[in-house]
């Protein structure tokens, strides 16, 4: 049964997938645009992605949601394209296209027959420096974004709770602000806000091209030089320089009650280091720690203590994804059985963590996890689209192609001692936010 993963948290892909594509080629154009080519000749298809090193964590204060709003507006007119023409042209060529915004990146992609790659580049290059925003597009598209926020967040108590938790987790860093924007700020975004953000951050020197599929690197280089290579670097692009979190001195606790909560739970997140270029060992240890503690609903430490030895929980999890430019989160979740209170559930979770710190790593379990890491390199080759995505996300999060390629070996090299030492460092309650998601009627009982 896997239903809880989807219900409570985004699904974290534990091994962060970029694991040895068949052939990886990377180079940089003269204007600073990085290019990564992944070859997979099994089917005559291609994924074409352009990733910008700008995301929600790069927004000016008070303008939350502008990175995502601009992503929507990028499908409107350019110097060469009518509003909606890019997507319609992709569709007429039998392809699909979309875009997504995260804290550290904004990415645009098309999936299409390999012989249409040139057309994709031509259109994508057009909106790299030729976006033409007009007032008529702004109001309706902002309404669309507000409906998107309604759908993803306002209508979902778990998402509202997650927003509050992140805001409490980060004292100063923009990772505490929702990607889609606080509602009152997203409602007030203007054409000028979008234009300024575009002019400051978009350009070949802030972009990474990832092309994956039935292509030859030399041909990709020729096309990239033809369409992207002619765009001059944007002089407004500056290195990212985010605020640094102050020391966390006080544990934070949240109680959130909502009549729409069907299943209460406890979640705790700790501030945790991210993967850094050339230095991924601590992140690898935390990745394995999360897997050992809560990666499997059957064999993980939490499952054993809280779902098998005792019937405290219907679901437990530990999660960590180190692919971020700045500090990440290490999280623990317990969804109690019907007759267990949130207070008792949290206590049981604490006891399980304490017991793990005493017991140490189960060698057989670690060996199985490492076997799965090895195998994931094989399975990953079957899905070129997700490989492309993994490279793009890593390269916009401060990592290099070499870091991505080294990651499986680093995971395999981590010792039991290194995992326990990383655990000692990360489980610091001063860095932690503990949240209870409650039914509305439970509020009085717990206050």
């Amino acid at each position: 049964m896997r239903r809880f993963k989807a219900a409570i948290l985004p699904l974290f892909i534990v091994f962060a997938a970029p694991l040895g594509a068949a052939e990886v080629t990377d180079f940089t154009l003269e204007n600073g645009m990085e290019v990564v080519v992944l070859e997979d000749h099994r089917a005559p298809a291609v994924v074409h992605m352009v990733w910008y090193r700008v995301g929600a964590a790069d927004e000016p204060p008070g303008k939350s949601g502008i990175a995502h709003f601009l992503e929507h507006l990028m499908f409107k007119a350019t110097d060469e394209l009518e509003p909606g023409e890019l997507s319609d042209t992709v569709a007429r060529n039998g392809g699909s296209d979309n875009a997504f915004t995260a804290y550290d990146y904004t990415a645009y992609f098309q999936r299409v027959a390999a012989d249409r790659l040139e057309l994709m580049m031509q259109m994508e290059a057009s909106r790299m420096d030729g976006l033409r925003l007009v007032p008529e597009d702004i109001a309706t598209e902002r309404d669309v974004v507000i409906e998107e926020r309604n759908q993803r967040t306002e209508n979902d108590p778990g998402a509202l709770f997650g927003e509050q938790r992140r805001a409490a987790q980060f004292l100063s860093h923009p990772y505490g602000t929702p990607i889609i924007g606080w509602k009152h700020e997203a409602e007030a975004l203007t054409l000028e806000d979008a234009q300024k953000f575009y002019e400051r951050h978009y350009g070949p020197n802030n972009a990474i091209l990832v092309v994956a599929g039935d292509v030859a690197p030399d041909e990709v280089r020729r096309l990239a030089e033809t369409y992207y290579g002619v765009i001059p670097p944007n002089p407004n692009v500056l290195p990212r320089n985010r605020v640094v979190e102050p020391p966390h001195l006080a544990e934070r606790r949240l109680l959130y009650a909502d009549a729409r909560v069907g299943q209460p739970y406890v979640i705790r997140t700790y501030l945790a280091p991210e993967r850094d270029a050339g230095s991924q060992e601590e992140a690898a240890a935390l990745t394995l720690l999360a897997e050992l503690l809560g990666g499997s609903g059957t064999t993980s430490y939490f499952a054993e203590k809280l779902q098998f030895d005792t019937q405290t929980a219907v679901y437990t999890s530990a999660f960590y994804s180190g692919r971020a430019l700045d500090d990440a989160n290490f999280g623990l979740v317990i969804v109690p059985t019907d007759d267990v209170s949130l207070e008792d559930a949290e206590a049981a979770l604490d006891d399980a963590v304490a017991a793990f710190m005493k017991d140490g790593v189960d060698s057989a379990n670690l060996e199985r996890i490492k076997m799965q890491i090895l195998a994931s390199e094989i399975y990953a080759q079957d899905n070129i689209g997700s490989l492309a995505r993994a490279y793009g996300a890593a390269l916009t999060s401060g990592l290099t192609v070499e870091d991505v390629d080294a990651w499986p070996d680093i995971l395999a090299s981590i010792s039991e001692e290194a995992i326990m030492e990383a655990a000692e460092r990360v489980f610091d309650r001063k860095n932690a936010v503990t949240g209870w998601l409650m039914r509305e009627d439970a509020k009085e009982v717990t206050q």
Binding site: G94, E141, V144, S296
Partner: protein, 437 residues
């Protein structure tokens, strides 16, 4: 900046669509189990998809949820292994087995490495043929199912679907949730789970697809090993149901800022001679790819929703045309008016020549892109088998799309868009909108 532009765009649009490059072999095992295979030896693993028709619809009336709970228990202990021993053995092989069930089928999606294929197959066989259904596992997984049922009870999307299903399907299994209710699931015993397994996992309703690093002979031997010891016949399959609903609106009050709207009425069977015209027409109306009429009018022009679409739904025993969107409580009534107008417009006017040509190029170009990887190929092959298609469908399917004429569409839109029968279920606090009966 203006760059080399127009000439190139025009030439690309007229390029011929790809053909899907999959070579399907039909394999008959020595024991008589049929499967479709695509051999692909470049990556050392196999994706294996097995589907048992019937699925959760085979629940006895008073045991709703038994088959869903049983499905959650298949991997929770088998043969001499309890749940944890089984999971440890599976993880040590880096194999994965996913079990899923819906009202038309129970599916098994497996993948395993070439280097330990025999051990992985033995493990999967144990789960399929000799699951233990230990009482502690039954109670543990039951707790998870109940938790999901409680969550769904306050989810506006689920409430909308359940409400519409109950209106449409009378006393057919489709009318109720395959998860069961808190009461029905609490009442299930281990014997009910054993009976559910016996009713569903049987040889008379198996479809198999495999893609990856395996030969036809190897696959044949595996099929007998995996499935040969299952019982020959399962519980009787349900009959057809004609979804009946009067046009109008049903409001389900629920305190939340954005209303969820689900709409539709009876559709068209998959084997109807006008299915392809209907499919193409709906692509223009509410499909993805090229901006659909619904998306253009409700989202792009008016900003009333983030996402809206419609689909022809072909269950094994019922056919629907269904759509969905969500809008803030003070805007949902306006969005419904737009959908109604569009529903009437397409029924009266059909589609334009340009619309028809554009969706044809989209559909025919997108089709080969579906076959991207062993897992998707195995799933597509099983899906084709369950609706009675043959392997050559892959090479003729685009021709059937291209053969659709404006006249075909004009004929069929009167059947698939019936303004007088269009019903909306709205969950939320919609302003200016009331139930019609």
């Amino acid at each position: 900046m203006i760059r080399l532009w127009l000439v190139f765009a025009l030439t690309m649009i007229t390029a011929a669509p790809l053909r899907a490059a999959v070579d399907i072999q039909e394999v008959m095992s020595p024991g008589g189990i049929n499967a479709w295979l695509v051999e692909e030896h470049s990556i050392p693993f196999v994706a294996l998809e097995i589907r048992f028709k019937g699925g959760a619809s085979l629940d006895p009336k008073d045991k709703r949820g038994a088959i869903n709970l049983m499905t959650g228990l298949i991997e929770e202990g088998a043969g001499d292994m309890d749940a944890r021993a089984f999971a440890e053995a599976r993880d040590a092989l880096a194999a994965s087995f996913d079990f899923d069930v819906w009202d038309d089928a129970l599916s098994v999606s497996a993948r395993f490495l070439t280097e330990n294929r025999a051990e992985a197959v033995a493990l999967l066989r144990a789960a399929l043929v000799n699951p233990r259904f230990d009482q502690d596992a039954v109670d543990r997984v039951r707790g998870q199912v109940l938790s999901g049922i409680r969550s769904d009870a306050t989810d506006p999307n689920t409430i909308a679907n359940r409400t519409f299903d109950a209106m449409l399907y009378g006393d057919h299994p489709y009318a109720t949730s395959r998860d069961g209710t808190l009461e029905s699931v609490n009442a299930l015993t281990r014997d009910d789970i054993v009976a559910a397994h016996r009713a569903v996992l049987t040889r008379d309703r198996i479809h198999v697809g495999a893609s990856g690093d395996i030969s036809a002979d190897e696959l044949g031997a595996i099929l007998d090993d995996l499935l040969g010891d299952l019982p020959a016949e399962g519980a009787p399959l349900p009959g057809d149901v004609v979804p009946r609903v009067a046009g109008g609106v049903t409001v389900v009050p629920f305190e939340t800022p954005q209303s969820v709207a689900l709409f539709g009425h009876e559709g068209i069977p998959r084997d109807d001679e006008d299915f392809f015209p209907a499919f193409v027409a709906n692509q223009v109306f509410g499909g993805n790819g090229r901006q659909s009429r619904l998306s253009l009018e409700v989202r792009e022009e008016r900003g009333l929703t983030y996402s809206v679409g419609s689909v022809l739904v072909n269950y094994d025993y019922a056919d629907m045309v269904l759509g969905q969107f969500a809008s803030a409580n003070d805007r949902v009534a306006a969005a419904i008016d737009v959908v109604k107008d569009e529903w009437a417009r397409i029924a009266a006017e059909g589609v334009s020549e340009t619309e028809l040509e554009e969706v044809k190029t989209y559909l025919t170009g997108a089709y080969p892109l579906r076959f991207d990887g062993n897992g998707p190929i195995a799933r597509i092959m099983v899906g084709m088998q369950t609706i009675g298609l043959t392997p050559d469908y892959i090479t003729t399917r685009n021709d059937q799309v291209n053969a659709v004429t404006l006249e075909d569409v004009r004929r069929v839109v009167k059947r698939i868009y019936q303004p007088e029968n269009l019903h909306f279920v709205v969950v939320g606090q919609p302003e200016g909108l009331e139930s019609t009966n």
